[in-house]
């Protein structure tokens, strides 16, 4: 086994293969600080495909291997609102009124339940191609919002 394979978290080792031919956005989104737990993943691409429906795949292309399923949180809760701090806006290079792309990370729980992390959304500023995961100080939304099935309750 190579060193590269033994290194890194479970998550990095088990990154899934995208089987459906994706419509790949070739533009890299820079995450200057990575994501919590994936601090060395500094560049991602967002992949969509008709077959995936509302889901998209956020895949690291710089740093360790990692990929996430994501969904626009407003497709789950139409009135979803999350406040950005000045620090968030600076990280995104976002001016007031800049349209931002919001994404909630999807998790397939052990019992098959599909949950979405509405508490700490990923925000991307398409005009700067900067991304950032919001780590909120206070947030009413759950870390595990149940999207489909299973017995797990929201956290």
């Amino acid at each position: 086994m190579t060193r590269a394979r033994t290194r890194g978290s479970l998550a990095e080792r088990q990154a899934p293969a995208l089987e459906i031919p994706p419509r790949i956005s070739r533009d890299m989104i820079r995450f200057p600080h990575g994501l919590p737990g994936f601090e060395r993943c500094r560049g991602f691409v967002l992949m969509a495909s008709e077959a995936l429906g509302p889901l998209q795949c956020l895949k690291a292309v710089e740093g360790p291997e990692a990929s996430f399923l994501v969904v626009d949180p407003r497709r789950l809760l139409a009135d979803y609102r999350c406040q950005l701090t000045d620090a968030d806006r600076i990280r995104l290079g976002a001016a007031d009124g800049d349209p931002l792309l919001w994404l909630a990370l999807i998790t397939i729980e052990l019992d098959g339940t599909i949950t979405a992390n509405l508490r700490a959304p990923i925000v991307i500023n398409p005009s700067t191609m900067l991304g950032h995961q919001v780590v909120p100080h206070a947030c009413v939304y759950p870390l595990r919002h149940v999207v489909v099935g299973g017995t797990a309750a929201g956290e």
Binding site: S9, A11, Q14, E19, F38, T107, R119, L143, V148
Partner: protein
């Protein structure tokens, strides 16, 4: 003071403990470790599950 512009303030000191505040420039992220850890763990769970994308897309469409 810590480095450039990061300041630790004692907001309240009492018998039961001390409440500290961190003042930092807006480009410096200040997080409570337990919240950051919670999100880190959630991210690791999100990335670690093997999944069948077609199956998930089908279940989501079913739901809508």
């Amino acid at each position: 003071m810590i480095g450039d512009g990061i300041r630790i303030e004692v907001l309240r000191a009492g018998r039961d403990g001390v409440r500290l505040g961190v003042v930092a420039p807006p480009e410096v992220a200040v997080h409570r470790k337990e919240i950051y850890d919670q999100i880190r763990e959630a991210n690791e769970r999100a990335a670690s599950r093997p999944f069948d994308l077609g199956e998930i897309a089908r279940r989501l469409r079913h739901r809508a």
